[in-house]
């Protein structure tokens, strides 16, 4: 039995569409800039920490999975369970943030900046921009988790949970494109 509306508050979906648009254009700018600088991009891509990127992909996917479990929990009125799953999702978000900071730190220590070359400009811009959205998503999820714990949601009313969940899945979706594109494809 299909539902009529997108999950959560519709306004977040406008926001999600806007974010997807920005990232989409950024990805395409990367791809077409690469077309004009193939050797440069191929070479410096090799200097990226692919292990970190791959682990982070699994981290985000798992985090999203936990959020799905959280939404399923509240749909069955299990508010505490919902809060716990979101808590774990946020924790994994924290792991992503930590690994990313290590990555940025390493590049910074090597003297790499936005002005080093076009590849690094895109790598740093894209991943930093995404990083900011991970942080924002974590804030949103934390608020949802606290409210869930306090009993603000139920099986009948849990729009907030679905809203926060949708945003987090968008963050995951963007990374799913970003990782292969920037770290692997050549």
């Amino acid at each position: 039995m299909k539902k009529q509306d997108l999950p959560g508050d519709f306004a977040i979906w406008i926001f999600i569409f806007a974010e997807l648009l920005v990232f989409g254009i950024f990805f395409l700018a990367y791809a077409f800039a690469r077309a004009a600088n193939v050797e440069l991009f191929n070479e410096y891509q090799q200097h990226l920490d692919r292990e970190s990127g791959a682990i982070n992909t699994v981290v985000l996917i798992t985090s999203s999975f936990f959020v799905v479990l959280a939404v399923n929990a509240i749909r069955h009125n299990a508010a505490q369970l919902c809060a716990r799953w979101i808590g774990l999702a946020v924790l994994l978000g924290g792991v992503f943030v930590y690994l990313k900071l290590l990555e940025f730190g390493s590049k910074y220590a090597d003297g790499i900046t936005l002005s080093t070359n076009t590849f690094y400009m895109f790598y740093l811009s894209l991943t930093f921009f995404h990083f900011m959205h991970v942080l924002m998503g974590m804030v949103i999820l934390t608020v949802v988790a606290v409210k869930a714990w306090q009993g603000a949601y139920s099986a009948e009313t849990h729009t907030g949970v679905e809203t926060g969940a949708s945003y987090w899945h968008m963050v995951d979706l963007v990374w799913i494109v970003l990782f292969p594109l920037v770290y692997v494809m050549h």
Binding site: I14, F15, A18, L21, V22, I25, F26, A29, S115
Partner: protein, 464 residues
């Protein structure tokens, strides 16, 4: 008029229109000087006329925004304005300071004006749009603080609505970013970098919040559509404004000596700046289509819809045409820029002020809407001004494209003045369109003094 203190909006609106007329007269002088360089020289040289034209624009729009706030805030907050006396006092201070500044530009050589006003104590003069003496700028800050206090307390002590909070945020932002007018770095790159924190973050940032809030307010009043629907749209629109416009500032950082990555960031984000304007257009038409009442003020509905469309075209489309770095490389600082600037300012900000005046002035004068004959004239003025502005823009676009081609893009680029001669025809046509614009403005002013005509109400126009 539900609250007595809304009446303070009236002098602000009158001043706005008066200064608007002044702005256009100087615009026509400038347009003439493009084709007849010595016109009014040496009494009013080009650079002086330009300062007067641009400064008057900003000042009358500010009067308009303040009038709009004084009108709509008491109604939204469901309480009288905190201090009508303060509003009146600030009105006279702002008007007199503005008048003195313009007189200063006209009567005194600029360097002398700087001396007289003790610019060297805290130098802020000499930058485009920010030519005002430092003491005038300080005056503006004082007026702004007084205004924000007045409006802020009224809102915060009363009913808070999305409309009033967005408006307040925009107005606070306007004041905060104006402070960067006082920051005058010696380094030329920094100077330009921060100048845009006033200009861009005003017109492609906080002013859009002000415009969105006023548009939402007018649509609530004239369509009767549920406040919640309209307010949700407003949230989405301002979110898109901020998402695209903040980093979109980078489209002014392509060639001024900042790092190259701005060419990417500025292009990517500013390319999306038309989106909020597109949304405003869909929003406005949608709300009018879903209206629950036939408001007797037809002119206002026309202005509201027209604002959204012209803002989208002028700010959105024309902005997009020259926002990408590879294009801007050629068009930077050309007549293409002027074309965009005129239609954008008119479409977004001139028109939103005229929209709120259209809605509020009759009520301030004791009627729900003006007499039909007045509205007809007002609607004529809408079409005259809007269509002539479209032509001004088209002619300047033509001039700009030809200019860019001949002066920059061809194999054999021609010098500036040689090219100016070749595009002269466009300037004549622009001036002609400008004259029609003035006619439209005169008709607009006349509409306030016309009465009569038969009101026909098909179906009831009672409150829903």
């Amino acid at each position: 008029m539900k609250y007595q203190s809304q009446a303070v909006a009236k002098p602000y609106f009158i001043a706005a229109i008066g200064l608007f007329v002044g702005q256009i007269l100087f615009g026509l002088i400038l347009g003439m000087q493009y084709v007849w360089g010595d016109f009014m020289f040496p009494e009013i040289p080009f650079n002086v006329a330009r300062m007067v034209h641009t400064n008057l624009l900003i000042v009358w729009l500010l009067f308009g925004f303040m009038g709009a706030a004084y009108y709509l805030v008491p109604e939204e907050a469901e309480r009288e304005l905190q201090s009508p006396f303060l509003a009146w006092a600030l009105f006279w201070i702002f008007l007199i300071a503005g008048a003195l500044t313009v007189l200063g530009y006209l009567l005194v050589p600029y360097a002398q004006l700087a001396d007289i006003t003790m610019n060297d104590l805290l130098p802020t003069m000499g930058r485009e749009f920010l030519e005002q003496p430092t003491i005038t700028k300080v005056g503006i800050v004082i007026v702004a603080l007084g205004f924000l206090y007045n409006i802020g307390v009224t809102i915060l002590a009363g009913r808070k609505t999305v409309v009033s909070l967005v408006l307040l945020t925009g107005l606070v932002g306007l004041a905060v970013f104006f402070l960067f007018a006082f920051y005058n770095p010696t380094n030329v790159v920094d100077d330009k970098y921060y100048w845009w924190w006033v200009v861009h973050l005003w017109v492609e940032g906080v002013w859009e919040l002000i415009m969105g809030a006023i548009l939402a307010y007018v649509l609530i009043k004239v369509t009767g559509v549920d406040r919640e629907v309209i307010e949700k749209w407003l949230y989405v629109i301002i979110a898109m404004t901020l998402i695209t416009g903040i980093i979109g500032t980078g489209h002014h950082y392509y060639w001024i000596g900042t790092p190259d990555y701005w060419q990417w960031w500025g292009s990517i984000f500013s390319a999306m700046e038309p989106i909020p304007f597109f949304m405003m257009t869909v929003f406005a038409f949608n709300m009018v289509n879903r209206r629950r009442r036939e408001h007797p003020n037809k002119a206002t509905v026309l202005w509201a819809l027209g604002t959204a469309v012209m803002a989208f075209l002028g700010a959105g489309v024309w902005g997009f045409l020259h926002t990408l770095a590879p294009i801007n490389y050629y068009t930077h600082g050309s007549q293409v820029t002027a074309a965009h600037g005129h239609m954008a300012f008119y479409g977004a900000y001139v028109m939103i002020v005229l929209t709120i005046i259209s809605y509020a002035m009759p009520i301030l004068r004791g009627q729900e809407a003006s007499d039909p004959r007045s509205q007809v004239l007002e609607m004529w003025s809408f079409w005259l001004m809007t269509v002539s502005m479209v032509f001004i823009t088209l002619f300047l676009t033509g001039a700009g494209v030809l200019q860019v081609w001949l002066q920059r893009y061809t194999e054999d680029p021609q010098p500036f003045m040689v090219v100016q001669e070749k595009i002269e025809m466009f300037y004549w046509l622009r001036e002609l369109a400008g004259a029609v614009f003035l006619i439209g403005l005169i008709v607009y002013v006349i509409s306030f003094f016309v009465k009569g005509g038969e009101r026909v109400t098909i179906g009831s126009s009672d409150t829903a």
